[in-house]
Symmetry: C2
Subunit: 356 residues, 2 copies
C-alpha cells in the first residue's frame, strides 16, 4: 500500500516514552497489514524552546504540513511555566492548531470496564457512558484580539470572542456527521441567553439541523451542561461546542469516566489530515522513570487509523489488543490497584504489540 507520512512530535515530559510505544504499535501494523509509514520527527514545545528558541519551529511546522497525519506526545512542564508568552509551550500548541487549520477537536470519553472503579462517580451512574466532545479549536476567545489598555478605572485587559457563520457551520456539520455514525443524538452547548456568539452559534445549528432529520438535537446551556454531565453522563452521545466551553467540558467529561490516562484525541481540519494525541499531559513528575502509561497514545494511533487512513481493521486490532492486555490484568502504575505489581511503559507497549 501507499506510503503514509507521519510527523512525530514527542514533546516534553513523558511524551517521548509514550510516543515510543505508539511507534512500536504502528510498526507492528506494517508487518501485519503491509502498511508503510515514513516517520519524520520534529521538535515542539518546551524542548523546542530550549533547543530552537521557539515552541513551534518552522521546520517542525513544515514536517507536519508535508505529513498525512501528526502523532503528538505531550508538551509543557514547570520549567517553562513562567516564560513570557512567546516562549511557552501552550503558545506552540495554539500556533500549530491555527497553522494546520485544525478547527475540530474530537475527544471520546468512554469508560474502560477495568477502570470503572477509578471514577469518582458511582458505577451505576457511569454505566453506558460513551460520549464524544467535538470542540471548535481555532476560533472564539482563544484567537480573538487581546490587549491591555488604560480605562476610566485604571488598567484593563480585553479578550475578544469572535465567530463567523462559516466557522460555526463547518464544526457543526462535522458534529452532525459524527452523530450519524453513532446513536444519532447531538447536544449543542452554548450560552445563548448571554452571548452574541452563542446566539449566532444556535442560529447556525438550527439552520443545519433539518439536513439531519434523523439526529435528535438538544440545545444545552453551558452551565447546565456542566451539571448534566454529572447527573446523566450516559444520556449524551455527541456534544458540540465552541472553543472555551469545549476546553472545560471535555476535561470534565474525561475526568468523570475515571479513564483519563487512557483517552485519546484527534484534531482535524478539512480533508483527512489530523493530529492525534493523548488527553493526558506531559506529567513531568514521572517523566524519565519508564513508568508512564502508553495506552492513551497507542489508542490515538487507532483513532488516526480510523479517521485519517480508514484503516478500520488495524484500528480494531489495536483496540482489541489493549483490551486483552488489560483483561489479562496488566497495569501500569497509574491504573494499578496493587501498585507493587505494576509494569513499566515498555513492558506495557510490548504486551500490546504481542497481543496484536
Amino acid at each position: 500500500s501507499e506510503v503514509k507520512k507521519i510527523a512525530v512530535i514527542a514533546g516534553d515530559g513523558i511524551g517521548p516514552e509514550v510516543v515510543g510505544e505508539a511507534l512500536k504499535v504502528m510498526k507492528k501494523t506494517e508487518e501485519l497489514f503491509g502498511y508503510q509509514f515514513e516517520f519524520e520527527h520534529g521538535l515542539f514545545g518546551g524542548i523546542a524552546i530550549d533547543e530552537k528558541g521557539t515552541p513551534l519551529p518552522q521546520e517542525t511546522l513544515d514536517i507536519c504540513k508535508k505529513a498525512d497525519a501528526v502523532l503528538l506526545g505531550a508538551v509543557g512542564g514547570p520549567k517553562w511555566d513562567n516564560n513570557p508568552k512567546e516562549l511557552r509551550p501552550e503558545t506552540g500548541l495554539l500556533g500549530i492548531r491555527k497553522a494546520l487549520g485544525l478547527f475540530s477537536n474530537i475527544r471520546p470519553a468512554n469508560v474502560f470496564d477495568c477502570l470503572k472503579e477509578a471514577s469518582t462517580l458511582k458505577p451505576e451512574v457511569l454505566e453506558g457512558t460513551d460520549l464524544i466532545v467535538v470542540r471548535e479549536l481555532t476560533g472564539g476567545i482563544y484567537f480573538g484580539e487581546k490587549f491591555r489598555r488604560e480605562g476610566a478605572n485604571g488598567e484593563e485587559a480585553v479578550d475578544t470572542c469572535v465567530y463567523n457563520v462559516q466557522e460555526v457551520e463547518r464544526i457543526v456539520r462535522q458534529a452532525f456527521d459524527i452523530a450519524m455514525t453513532r446513536s444519532k443524538r447531538l447536544a449543542s452547548v452554548d450560552k445563548a441567553n448571554v452571548l452574541e456568539t452563542s446566539r449566532l452559534w444556535r442560529e447556525v445549528v438550527n439552520r443545519i439541523a433539518p439536513e439531519y432529520p434523523e439526529v435528535e438535537l438538544e440545545h444545552v446551556l453551558v452551565d447546565n451542561c456542566a451539571m448534566q454531565l454529572l447527573r446523566r453522563p450516559s444520556s449524551f452521545d455527541v456534544i458540540v461546542t465552541e472553543n472555551m466551553f469545549g476546553d472545560i467540558l471535555s476535561d470534565e467529561a474525561a475526568m468523570l469516566t475515571g479513564s483519563i490516562g487512557m483517552l485519546s484525541s484527534a484534531s482535524l481540519g478539512e480533508g483527512s489530515f489530523g493530529l492525534y494525541e493523548p488527553v493526558h499531559g506531559s506529567a513531568p513528575d514521572i517523566a524519565g522513570q519508564g513508568i508512564s502509561n502508553p495506552i492513551a497514545t497507542i489508542l490515538s494511533v487507532a483513532l488516526m487509523f480510523r479517521l485519517t487512513f480508514g484503516y478500520h481493521e488495524a484500528a480494531k486490532v489495536i483496540e482489541d489488543a489493549v483490551k486483552n492486555v488489560l483483561d489479562a490484568g496488566h497495569r501500569t502504575g497509574d491504573i494499578a490497584v496493587d501498585k507493587s505489581s505494576a509494569i513499566g511503559t515498555t513492558a506495557m507497549g510490548d504486551l500490546i504489540v504481542a497481543a496484536m
Copy 2:
C-alpha cells in the same frame, strides 16, 4: 431593634411558593428575636414582562434600592424563552445585578448528610466537601460589548471580555476575607495560559496575596478545576473566579454535592446590602402544585441574616431547624426516597417554623 427593609421578589414558577415559606420563617424570627422586617413586594422576570412589558420595572428597582436586602425566588420559564432579548427574564437578572452593583456571587456548596446518597459521586469522595464559589458577577464577557458585523467570511458575532484592576481587586479581596473566616485556603481559577483578562486576574491575585499571609493560595486553570472538582471536591475551601467560569464551575460544584435543591446563594456589593436566592431555578414543571422544596430559599434567609444583618444567632436557629426537620425524616418530593411519603411546600415550611 431597627426596622429592616426587605425587597421581596417572588418571580416565576415555584418562586412565589418557596418565597412564601421563607417569609413565614422571617416572621417567626420577629417573634423569637424581636426583629422588625418591612416587606415590599416587586414584580420581576416573566411576570413583570407579562404585567409591565419589561423584566425589570423601574418600581422594582426602586424597591430594591431602598431596601436593606432583597429576597428573590426564581425567574424564567418556557413561556418567555423565545422572546427577544429585552423581553427575557435573564435580561432582568443581568440588569438587576448591574443596577444594584452586586459584583460578587457567593455560592456555598456543601453536602447535606441526609442527601449524600443523592449525589452521583461516591460518598467517600464527597466526604467533607464544603466549599464556596465566589464568582465575579458584573464584569467579564457578560457585560462587555456584543454585536454582529460583516467580516471577510460573512456575518460574524463578537463578545468582548473586559476586566479592570479595580474589579478584580474587590472580588479577590472579598474571597481572601471569606477564606480567612474558614479553612484559609483559596483557589483562584483562570485561564492565564490563554486569556489576557486571566493574566491580569492572576497578577492582581498575586499582588494581594501577601496581605493574607495565612491563606494558602493556589492558581488553578479553569479546565483543570472542572476536573479537580470531580476528583478531590473536599480539598477545596474557597474558589474565586471571573463571571463566565464562575457560572459553569458553581453549577458543577452545586450538582456534585447532590444537594442542589437545598443550596442558597448571596449576591453582594459594597457594604452590607445583598440579594439572596436559592440556587435552583423556577421549575415551571412543578409550579403551582404545592410540592416544591422551600429549604434553599429558607436557607437563603439564614445567609441574609449572617451576611447582611449579622443576625448570627437567628441564622443558626433557622439552619438547626432545617437540620432537625430533615433528621426527623421529613422530605419534599424532590429529596424523598419514598415519594409516597413526601410532604408539600407549606407543610415543610410549617415544620421548620415549628422547629425554630
